[in-house]
Amino acid sequence: MNEDCLKLTAYFAERDRAGDGFLGDALLGVCERHRFQTSVLLRGTEGFGRHQVLQTERLLSLSEDLPMVLVAVDSRRRIEAALPEVGHVAGHGLMTLERARMLTGAIGAVTLPEDLHEATKLTVYCGRHERTGRRPAFVSVVDLLYQCGGLSTTVLLGVDGTAHGARQRARFLAANAEVPMMIIAVGPGDRIRRALPDLSGVLERPLMTLERVRVCKVDGRRLAEPHRVAGADDEGLHTWVKLMVHADHDTRHGRRPMYVELVRRLRAARLGGATVLEGIWGYHGARPPQGDRLLALRRHVPTTTVIVDTPDRIGQAFAIVDELTDEAGVVTSELVPAFRARGEWGEAGGLRLAQV
C-alpha cells in the first residue's frame, strides 16, 4: 500500500495534564481509540517552550518536566477524523500536521513524485525488539541506509505508542518487545528509494513514511537556506517551518556539547522553543553507525534537535544553527502546513492545512 497520509505531531511537557491524567497518556488514548497505523511517544532530553523555562536531563531538579513529542501517522481521512478529539484533549503545547506518503506491506519499486527526487526523509517504524535473523532490526535498517548513501539516520526509542492499530506501552521490568521505535533517515531521494525493497525485507511488517525535505547543511558544508514562505495562502492560512539538526552526542562546539550550546543560544535569543531527542543508534555524515558502548563513560549516540517556528524566527534560528554546525551535523528544513500553539497566553494557528 502506498498512500497519501498525514503526520500529526504534538510537542508538550511530560507533566502537562489533561483531565484526571497526563496529556501524553490522553493523546495515546486517542491514538488507541482511532486505531492509528502508528504513533510513537518520545521523551526529549532537553528543551524549552514558549514559556522559556529550560528542562534538561543533565540536572536532576530541571528534569522533572522534560519535553515530550507524540508522532502519529495514518491516512488523511483517519487523522482528520481524530482532530476534534485531539484538540479537545490538548490544552497546552504545539501541534503540527505535515503531509507524508505511507508505505506498508512488501515494498517493490516505488516511483517518487518529482518533489521527492532531490532529498527525502524516510521514517521507519518498527518494534523495539524486532529482529532480523540474530541482529536487532534497527541495526540492519541503519546499515542498509548507511550503505546506500543516506546522509544521516537516527534511531529513537518510544516510551508508548500504537503499532498497526494496537496500543504498545513500555512498562518497567517488562520485555516491551512491541513498543514502537522510530528510525529517521535523510538522504538523496533516488538512493533512499533504491534501498526501500531491501529495507522492507528486513522488517516483519514494514511501515514507513516518505516526506520531502530540504538539506541545508552537511558536515559544515552549506547547501541551502531553510524554507522562506511569504504571507498566507488563498484562504489566509500560514505555513511554519521545521528545522532538524542531526548530530552526535559528542559533537562539540568549543568545550561544550553542541546540542547544549544550541539550546542555550536559542533560548537566549528568546525563540519559541526547541526539543532535543536522543537516539540509541545511528550516524550522520561519513562516520559509521554507532551507539553507546559497554563501560564507556563518553556517550556515542546521535542527537536530533527539532525547532518549529514561523519562517522569520526560523531564519533567526538558522543563523545560530549555522554557526554551531561549522564542522559536523546534518541540518534539514521542512514546511509545516498546519500548526496550532496553545498555552496560558492564548492560542495561535489552527489545524487546517495551508496550500504549500
Binding site: E57, R58, L60, H249, R298
Partner: protein, 121 residues
C-alpha cells in the same frame, strides 16, 4: 524516641527535600552553564548549617530533627554523583573534576566554618 518524634522526622525530612527541590531548581534555571550550581550550593549551605548546629551544641531530639531529618534530606550526595557522571558522559571532564574536588574542599570548609560560627553563638 517517641512516635511524635518519628512523625516529625518524616515531616521535616519532607520539608528539607522540598526546600532542596525549589532552591536547586531556581539556581539551576538561572545559572545556565554546565556546572551544577544548584546541587553545589545546596550541599554547601547544608554542610555549613549542619556544622553550625553541632558547633552550637544542639543535641538529642533537636539534632535529630534539624540535622538528620531536615538537613539530611536537604543535602544530596546522589545528585552530586549523578550530575558529575552526566558531565563525564558529555566529555566535560574538567567541569566534572572541578565539581568533585570543589564540593569536597569547599564543603569541608563550610562545615568547619559553620561549626566555628555555631560555637561562637
Amino acid at each position: 524516641m517517641t512516635v511524635g518524634t518519628w512523625i516529625l522526622v518524616g515531616l521535616l525530612g519532607g520539608t528539607g527535600s522540598v526546600a532542596r527541590f525549589v532552591i536547586d531548581g531556581l539556581i539551576g534555571e538561572r545559572a545556565g552553564g554546565p556546572f551544577p550550581w544548584g546541587t553545589f550550593i545546596v550541599n554547601l549551605s547544608g554542610a555549613a548549617l549542619l556544622g553550625g548546629l553541632v558547633g552550637a551544641a544542639v543535641s538529642g531530639n533537636g539534632l535529630i530533627l534539624a540535622g538528620t531529618a531536615t538537613l539530611g534530606s536537604y543535602t544530596t550526595l546522589s545528585t552530586w554523583m549523578l550530575e558529575t557522571h552526566r558531565l563525564g558522559q558529555n566529555a566535560q571532564l574538567m567541569v566534572a573534576g572541578v565539581n568533585l574536588v570543589a564540593s569536597l574542599l569547599v564543603g569541608f570548609a563550610a562545615a568547619a566554618g559553620g561549626h566555628a560560627v555555631g560555637a561562637a553563638l
